[in-house]
Symmetry: C2
Subunit: 469 residues, 2 copies
């Protein structure tokens, strides 16, 4: 549950987004608010701090708190996109390959990267922990603990998920080669070639790639840029298209950053329970909330075992280790079988390093620091974009993760911009990656998880120039 001050902050944020509090308008005084909502002054201050941290309000010395003025030009509704009404085959992989490949040069400013800066992770400790655990490992464990993964890591994960409010069976966690493999295996477990799968609008390109690889068709769901998939729209699509499965990212959706509120998650699960539709849930950003509480995943609202939950350590702890996991509910056996058939098992040194790290303690402390760093860094990037990008640019305002979704004025082609920027040593993720039919040609996803050095600031300035219509 969110704390009292978070609830208050969320309610005020909603009023700001709904236009009930206008940019430049003064917020009620702390005393007024205390009286109105029956909370202590400390709670109100905490809420205002949070909103300031999110860049929604600003404090003016000896005057009080005001809704920030930049807000107007980036009002969220302008980011909304209409979903396509028909289902489409998918062939996005060549473009994704080209873009990702081009952004893997270490000299390039990594605004198009999918990962935060690797310098944010406890890599030395992981290396030491891994070495110690490997030396202590009974050799037999290398060939007996195969498909589902290392028992110690599975148990540590289970315990952590249970603490976060999930019901997880003792044998449910299946360790995979990153979330990417988990998502692919889960999707395959509940579909056959030719099936229709419902995805968000816009969608993470890996979902589109998975559909393409498995010969599936995509149908788009109405998706609010702040609140995620619309439950009524979902119900309609599921009914109309005979959807075999959904692929959703309810926490800090990539690329929008949308966070589905609790009530909406409940409503989404009600729809899917009635239709009996399995849902592949991608929760890789769930731990990277900027507020104080970890949002629950859809799986917390799943009573029928129909959610195939996937996550990983690649964005939170150990990039490059390629350790992810699936909690596949009643599809666990099918997913484990597919894992055995497609890659047999996950790297033991990687699994053990993380198991040892989790057992030694300090993961939550690391996460607190990481969240703070990413929240600050994303907020700075947002300010830079608002400063340097052309008039008419809309920018998302996520409360977790490290991506910005930037909507440029009509007429700008971000595929072209991507090529121009790359020629200048800057990578971006063009909007065309995020739909089956390469729409969102005027949008960009920018990575705010890297240090704000002079090079990055120069890069944003240059992008702003390239982005002029």
């Amino acid at each position: 549950m969110p704390t009292l001050y978070e609830q208050l902050a969320d309610a005020l944020a909603q009023r700001i987004h709904d236009g009930l509090l206008q940019p430049g308008e003064r917020l009620p005084s702390v005393r007024q608010t205390c009286a109105q909502v029956q909370v202590s002054p400390a709670t109100v201050f905490q809420a205002y701090d949070l909103l300031e941290g999110r860049g929604l309000i600003e404090a003016r010395p000896r005057s009080g708190f005001y809704v920030r003025k930049q807000l107007k030009r980036s009002a969220a509704p302008a980011l909304a996109a209409s979903p396509r009404e028909d289902s489409t085959p998918v062939a996005v992989s060549e473009l994704v390959f080209e873009v990702l490949h081009s952004t893997r040069d270490r000299e390039v400013v990594p605004l198009g990267s999918a990962f935060p800066s690797p310098t944010l992770f406890p890599l030395d400790r992981l290396a030491r922990d891994g070495a110690r655990a490997m030396r202590q490992l009974a050799p037999q464990a290398l060939t007996t603990e195969l498909t589902a993964g290392n028992a110690r890591l599975r148990e540590a994960l289970r315990a952590r998920c249970v603490r976060q409010g999930l019901r997880v069976g003792p044998d449910e966690p299946i360790i995979t080669n990153g979330a990417m493999e988990a998502l692919n295996l889960c999707l395959q477990a509940v579909t056959q070639p030719g099936d229709v799968v419902a995805v968000e609008t816009p969608t993470f390109y890996a979902a589109l790639q998975a559909l393409e690889r498995l010969h599936l068709r995509a149908v788009e769901l109405p998706t609010d840029p702040q609140l995620g998939v619309d439950p009524d729209g979902l119900a309609e699509v599921v009914q109309q298209h005979g959807v075999a499965a959904c692929w959703l990212m309810p926490n800090f959706q990539n690329p929008l950053g949308a966070l589905m509120p609790h009530a909406r998650k409940q409503a989404v699960m009600d729809v899917l329970r009635r239709s009996g539709t399995p849902v592949v849930e991608d929760d890789v950003y769930g731990e990277l909330h900027h507020g104080s509480d970890r949002p629950l995943p859809l799986k917390a609202f799943d009573t029928e075992g129909q959610v195939l939950y996937c996550s990983s350590f690649s964005k939170c702890l150990a990039p490059g280790y390629r350790v992810g996991w699936a909690l596949a509910g009643r599809h666990s056996h099918a997913v484990q079988k597919l894992k055995m058939m497609s890659s047999l098992a996950t790297s033991v040194p990687s699994q053990l390093a993380i198991a040892e790290y989790l057992d030694e303690g300090g993961y939550d402390r690391h996460l607190r620091q990481l969240r703070k760093t990413l929240a600050d860094s994303l907020s700075q990037l947002r300010q830079l974009v608002l400063k340097h990008f052309p008039k008419g640019t809309r920018v998302s305002r996520p409360s977790g993760g490290y991506f910005l979704w930037v909507q440029l004025p009509e007429g700008v082609d971000t595929l072209q911009l991507h090529r121009q920027a790359l020629a200048q040593g800057i990578s971006v993720a063009p909007g065309a990656l995020f739909s089956a039919d390469q729409r969102f040609r005027a949008a960009l996803r920018l990575n705010g998880g890297h240090p704000h050095d002079a090079r990055l600031q120069e890069a944003i300035k240059l992008l702003g120039q390239l982005a002029r219509p």
Copy 2:
């Protein structure tokens, strides 16, 4: 090229298998043989040693060398099986899952395991090498060296393959999560759901699982238990069935142990070049030759880039590390794209440990020791099986790897035997795993890569009792 004494040994082995030298018959004296084939006495002694090591002949004090008597009951031709003539959909995974799962108890005698004993590998050195390499790694490499793998490991592999006679492009190696992932990606790169794929008879179950997962149909190739796939039979099947791809294991085929001679590899590639059929080559046992020379893979005979070569370190150096690779010829781009789409990248700690190990040197010395251990241990297992199994049992005689293929008298059901044996704490790989229609119900694959302790000897004795018709 085989050495002179290996050529001589091979020629004599052929005469024995062909019945030109009968069990119990005395071999020509060393002096006679020297005169006949124009080689030195040392060469003849070496050849006779090799044959003795393979269990084909025995030295009798002050009398000379004789063809072993047990040979008759295990003559190779009796292992031959007729391929099915039609193509079939595949659904073997549930059985494989059940069998493999049941054999992953550390207390079970691992005769059904797919891995040699993990105690045969330099695990401590790998752990140390891995830790050192991880400490020295630039953090950025964790997220920039993604899909195709670590540059240092790719280059070490390329250099090794080139030394072994392969033409490999500088960017050709793609590092994968074990050979299993490499094989799956390669097969998917050259097929579409519904396609027909030609496999050996019997076939490694992972090939059948891959076909099942990708919705492909299997057609079986005539396969000699010693020499592998018959080129004429292959030509016929390719023509009749519109085969989209072949999946072959020309070196020490699993489960038969067959080694395709050079000339046959050339002939197979001639057939496939004419038809333009891509071939997925599984060479995971190629390094585990018991003779002195590493057999060439099919890829060495490939002039058109149509071989998608796959191998790994899981059976030679680093079980549990899950590091394999593909050399996919002209399908490299497609395989790399599929890798990105299905698991993004391979574990960096695992890749680095192996890269560091290879650079530090000693791999070939380790391999020499491993080959000798496996050859001895397999030969001992063979003797035990011949001693304890019922009359009418035929046993393969591989010149590499660590598997025996054991054909029991008709009427024995090895699926039932597998269950009875497991109840006694012994695992075996029942023959039904090795074909799409669960034939080979009277055959077993036994793993000879584990130490011959008293428990193993007791296990073989017990299996021999259970195997009575």
